[in-house]
Symmetry: C2
Subunit: 275 residues, 2 copies
Amino acid sequence: MASKKPLILISNDDGITAPGIQTLVKVMKKIGEVVVVAPDGPQSGMGHAITVANTLRLDKSTAFPDVEAYECSGTPADCVKLAKHHVLKNRQPDLVVSGINHGSNSSISVLYSGTMSAAIEAAIEGLPAIGFSLCDYGHEADFSHTEPFVEQIVRQALKHGIPVNTALNVNIPKNSATPIAGIKICRQAHARWQEEFDERLDPNKRRYFWMTGSFVNSDKGEDTDEWALANNYVSVVPCQFDLTAYHAIPQLNNEWELEEKPEMKDKKITEKAPN
Amino acid sequence: MASKKPLILISNDDGITAPGIQTLVKVMKKIGEVVVVAPDGPQSGMGHAITVANTLRLDKSTAFPDVEAYECSGTPADCVKLAKHHVLKNRQPDLVVSGINHGSNSSISVLYSGTMSAAIEAAIEGLPAIGFSLCDYGHEADFSHTEPFVEQIVRQALKHGIPVNTALNVNIPKNSATPIAGIKICRQAHARWQEEFDERLDPNKRRYFWMTGSFVNSDKGEDTDEWALANNYVSVVPCQFDLTAYHAIPQLNNEWELEEKPEMKDKKITEKAPN
């Protein structure tokens, strides 16, 4: 049993032909048995979108020699759902990895990230999951320096597990002359994108927009992913899918005057509609 | 100043012609000055998707008499971004409301919900925001019973505010013979969708899938949105956009053997790459 190779499911959001997933497949093949189910084209910025009102395609792919791989017409979250419930069926993956995304998914970008939605979808399904992103948007981004970090993190995840109901958001600094300082467990920085809209006219003189913007980080904490990345660390943020702001519940209960405050102790339900 | 009507921005994910947004506009017109920026077609299940690799259209809409309204080619999150940074510019909305969604967005569905992504996007932008959903998927769903609850919740939000960095996820039971029991502040139930894929052949004998599935709630808590809805309450869950699983950070720091553990006290950065 101990010698059985772990089953690792791989997805991404840049599509099955993107360079980042090549690196991920290469490293994962050293560690386990690999199955790939990835979008058949780019799905960046898809957040946690799923395909509810349309059909899904799933076809065998030859993108990776010696690897069972499928390309899917859907979103990253669709890919994980199809992988678990159709492709793998009774084969339970030991780990789901997503990426390596071409560009950062740190801080608030985790919400917009298809890479992380694949990982979070896996966590919802009860599977240990990690999303990897490289902080380099360049067309010729170099992924080679990420390999030892990806391998180390995946081996730790397989050895120690990932905290239940979380998925790890791993961001790796761009390759540079400065060696990467290490791996740091972080919290999500409180930052946001400050959008601007570039207004243009099409050849028919109809108006259209490009969304542009800059990243604004007002969080000075030294325990954030942004701090870690700015200091050349690989950042690891455990992410949860329970969005409840628990701290806000007493505030709402105390301040808001709701006509019917349910009395939980005796579970009395007052069958009266408000005015 | 006290008599100035609040400015309320409205969006949704079912599209600007959906019945739910009609109800929301009707109720909001009683309370404030209304501006609508909504998708030009259905965007259900879009999660927190944004349009990064494509252009956006934004055109004046005549969907609502006497209301400034725009239809947008993008996602619900795009609509809020365009509204804040282009349509409203220097007019700061006092509240952003999204919906009323045609179907429940309780529990885990909050992650897949375009309705809630519009509200959460507004919260990220620092605006008080509420997403409303009706737990009725029927084509002829009746929204009329939601009006007093929507009005009450919006008036409370304008009076007392919404806890900072949160957006409210409001779900309203389907209209039935049983009157609604009241409004309850809740946490997100720990539940998930159990997917199945309905495999078919197209006229060219190529395989395709429909995603189907059933909702599985293993959370027996009586403080959840699912419990509230099952007991005919309107559920209100404050949702945050900081996904950090804070409780998981010590576990990772203690259990994982990372080669480089940063020493935060003296902020020493060991400039050594791992093996």
